[in-house]
Each structure stands twice: as structure tokens, then as C-alpha cells.
Symmetry: C2
Subunit: 286 residues, 2 copies
């Protein structure tokens, strides 16, 4: 048994994590690894799963209803994007004044808009999106180092008190992340390109592979489609919650594919080289 983290070092006394899957479980593990809070409460629907996560050392206490979050100073909601706003609203009456809510969802505009002005006085919400994850699901794949060196986007708006902003930034920084701030709308536009579009493209590609050809898929096909193994329901919720920015990026993408297709169909080698070279240069900047 490890010694309790001294309160002088812990940034928070108690943090609640709602939804203890891959992300929620990794947040629990990272809080404990970095001594960010003295107590982590894991909240969810399935007591058996929560107890297993507690035995795995990811959380300290379990709760299946709002009464368990009463003493949390920070509540991190890690449920699917179509449930985050409702979960915050349901838990808000149970917490003390001054408690801050944040989340880990891959879309921000719909969540932030629906929570704006909808919480009891003294209860703050600020959207977060830690850019870290995996195509795997479940707390069994939780990793205390998942966030180290990665970027977390937080999305304050004009109404966000400075203190709320500082505490949430500090929380992610203590997990080892670099924090970037932008508006919810800008977040959704950026992520439509950098995350949601690649997922849609990988899925379209993976779905073309028929059985007998599978053994001839070399590492290129594997890498390009890896993320298509992600959870279908989670991603469908993300796509539908970020519909307009994603459609815009899909249209840009289809235009780019059609340029390449036209150059290949015309056997225009110089044009194909030009298009591939521009792509290579952009890829190498990553």
C-alpha cells in the first residue's frame, strides 16, 4: 500500500470521474500517479465494473448515483458525447457551491451551448478535450501515461470565471498535458479535420476489404485503417454532434481525392507527382 499523498501537494482534495472507461480510467490512474487529488471517486451505472476499476487501483471510491459526488471539487464527465450535457445537469444539484465540472468529449459546441446558463448558481462548467485515446475501449486498457506530453484543448466562453478556467487548466497540466484554449466552435472546426475526418476516411477504407484479400493488406493498409476499430456508437455520436464542420471537411477531402483520381485517369504523371509531393510535405510537418 502506498502512502497517502500529502494534502499540500495535491491540487484537489476530491475529484469525481463520471464514466470509468478507457479515458475515465486513465484519468483516475493519472491523478493517482501524479498525486493530483487525494481521493478519486468513480461514478457510473454498473457497480460491478466500478468495483473492478477500484480493485485495479484506478479509483478510490465508487458511486452509482449523484449523492456520491457531494464532496468533489472537480467533476470530470467522461461519458459519450451525447450524454455529457445531461450527466452534468443531473449531477449539478448534488455538489457544493464552487464545484467545477469539465468533460473529455470530442465535440464541444453542442455541449457548451446546452449547458450555458443551465447550471445552478456557483456551479461552473468548462469544456475540455484531451487529445489522447486509443481504438480500445474499457478501463482494462487504462494507462496512467496516456496524457503525458499530449495537448488538451479547453473551451472557455465569455461567461467562464477566471478561477474556473485556471483550475481546469491546472488539472490537465498536472496530468502532464499542454493546454490550448479556443472557442467551442473553433475546437469543433479543427477536430473535424484532424480527428473526425480521418476516422470517417479510415472507416470507408476498412469497409472495402473483402475476406480473401485480407492477408495481402500490408502495413500501409493496417496503419491507415487502425482507428476504424474504434467503437461505432461513440463515433456515430461524435459525427452527428459535429455534423456541419465534418461535412465541410468531407467535401474538401472528396475534392482532393477527385483531383488525384483525375490526374491518374489522365495518366498525367507530373500532376500526380505534384499532388503526392504536396501531401508528403504537409505530412512531414507533423
Amino acid at each position: 500500500m502506498s502512502a497517502p499523498v500529502p494534502s499540500t501537494e495535491a491540487a484537489f482534495s476530491t475529484v469525481a470521474v463520471v464514466g470509468v472507461g478507457l479515458i475515465g480510467g486513465s484519468i483516475g490512474a493519472a491523478i493517482k500517479r501524479h498525486g493530483v487529488a487525494r481521493t478519486v471517486i468513480g461514478v457510473g451505472r454498473n457497480r460491478e465494473r466500478l468495483e473492478a476499476a477500484r480493485r485495479a487501483g484506478l479509483i478510490d471510491r465508487v458511486g452509482t448515483d449523484g449523492s456520491q459526488v457531494a464532496d468533489a471539487e472537480l467533476v470530470v464527465v467522461c461519458t459519450p458525447v451525447d450524454r455529457i450535457a445531461a450527466d452534468v445537469v443531473a449531477l449539478a444539484p448534488h455538489v457544493r457551491g464552487g464545484t467545477v465540472f469539465t468533460d473529455a468529449g470530442s465535440v464541444k459546441q453542442s455541449i457548451c451551448t446546452s449547458l450555458r446558463g443551465g447550471l445552478p448558481p456557483g456551479i461552473g462548467f468548462i469544456g475540455s478535450h484531451p487529445l489522447a485515446g486509443s481504438e480500445k475501449a474499457g478501463f482494462e486498457h487504462a494507462d496512467a501515461d496516456l496524457f503525458v506530453g499530449r495537448v488538451c484543448i479547453v473551451t472557455p466562453d465569455d461567461a467562464t470565471p477566471a478561477g474556473v478556467r485556471t483550475r481546469v487548466r491546472h488539472f490537465w497540466e498536472r496530468l502532464g498535458m499542454q493546454v490550448a484554449e479556443m472557442s467551442p466552435a473553433r475546437h469543433d472546426a479543427v477536430l473535424a479535420l484532424t480527428s473526425h475526418l480521418p476516422h470517417a476516411v479510415a472507416a470507408a477504407l476498412a469497409s472495402l476489404l473483402d475476406g480473401p484479400d485480407t492477408e495481402f493488406a500490408a502495413s500501409g493498409f493496417r496503419d491507415t485503417t487502425r482507428i476504424a476499430a474504434g467503437d461505432a456508437e461513440l463515433w456515430a455520436a461524435i459525427f452527428c454532434a459535429n455534423r456541419e464542420p465534418l461535412i465541410e471537411q468531407l467535401d474538401r477531402f472528396e475534392l482532393q481525392v477527385s483531383k488525384l483520381r483525375a490526374a491518374i485517369a489522365a495518366d498525367d504523371r507530373e500532376r500526380v507527382i505534384q499532388l503526392l509531393h504536396a501531401a508528403k510535405q504537409r505530412r512531414e510537418r507533423l
Copy 2:
């Protein structure tokens, strides 16, 4: 200095590798690692680069013209796909009767068709495509284990003598590969889907990423576009040499993207789930 490999174990006395880049250099390294030949001759245009590859231990002798391959029993041509057939034709007059040529190109139909019946009597060619590689270029990235456990497709036709087939199969097997045989046309159709399409898709995706958003590209974007860092000229040659099968796959892909786009635009969550789920199942079979 390591002891010379006994001739009783080496399958070949002398193998020539034409084009000592990533693939040719790795073949040289793998031949030596597995004791497949007593001598590896590296053939290319740039003597300085060849000498550097020799000093790196990938080849034993260097040659910049056909006279150097006179005593090779097997010649493996690893030049870009648009040069392979011409390189075989240029080298064929310099070798002894019974010498077998093969290659490592990513397309087969155009090469095999242009060489069919075009070689001196007693000189055989059979197409090969080891499914292994990297987005990196140059013998400096050569890896003696690049081929271990991977698949090599060889593409005999009705005119290929059984002995030629056996020797080329045996060569790749000795490098640690599993050999699959199919016709050149079937190879090109399969690889259009499993290799050329993902490359085109990754390039189209990578080319959309603008400067300021680059820092928000998480691992999904990176994986999905990794192969877009490959050499533009090599890939343009492959695309143009496999035009019709690739266009066919691009059309299938665009149809799949448009199905997903339509479901998202219609906010039809169930249909999006269905499409993503089918993709996930196919990906998981890999």
C-alpha cells in the same frame, strides 16, 4: 570478420541486386544474414552510394554496368516500377544461360507483359512483390529483418518453367517470407485495394492539413497519413502503372465515403452506426 558461409548451405553462389535503396539494401542485408548466397553484387548508377552500401555490409561487390552481373545466378531488380522491365532487358545479354531474373516492384501486369517473350533463350523472368517496406528511402534504412514473417507474391504465367518458379519461391522463403502465387493481373487488382488505394487516400487526407492546425493532429491523423510521407515519384509511377484497377478502387471508395456523408448529413445515427460497425468488423479481421 565473420567466417564465410559454407557453399553447401548457400542456396545461390552469387545474387545481384539492381538498385540498392531501402528494398534492395534490405534484400542484400537479409541474404547475408540468412546465408542465402555466398556473394551479393550491388548494381546501380552511383558508384559512391554503392561503395557506401558495401562499407555498410549490405553487398559484397559493386557494379555500375551490366558486365558485373555475368556470374549471378539470380538477379533481383529493385528499381522503380517504370524502370524494371528496361533494366531486365538491358542486363539480360550479360548473364549466363540459366540465370533467373525477378524484381520487387509494386505492380506486375505491365512489367510481366512487356518482358514476356522478350528475353534471350534460357533467361527467365518471374515477377515478385515482397509485401514489406517503409515510407523511408535509401539503403541507410535497410533492415535485414524487413521480410521476416511477411508475404511475398510471385506472379508466374503459363510460360514460366517450373524450375524458375521453384528457385524464386525458394529465394524469398529463405529470407523468411511466406510465398503466395497469383497471376500478374490478379496481383494488380489486389494491391490496388490493399496498398495503392490507402496510399492515395492518405495523400489526399495529408494534403488538407494546414499549418496552424498541425499541432492538434492526434495519433489518429498521424497513423492514417503515415504512408503519405513516401516518395512522390515512386508512387506516381506505381499509380500510373496500375491505373485501371486503382481507378476502380477509388470509385468504390468514393461511393463508400458518400454513403457515410449522406448518413451524417441526414443525422441518421442508426445508419452511421451500421456503416461504422461494418468497417470495424472488417478492420478487426486483419
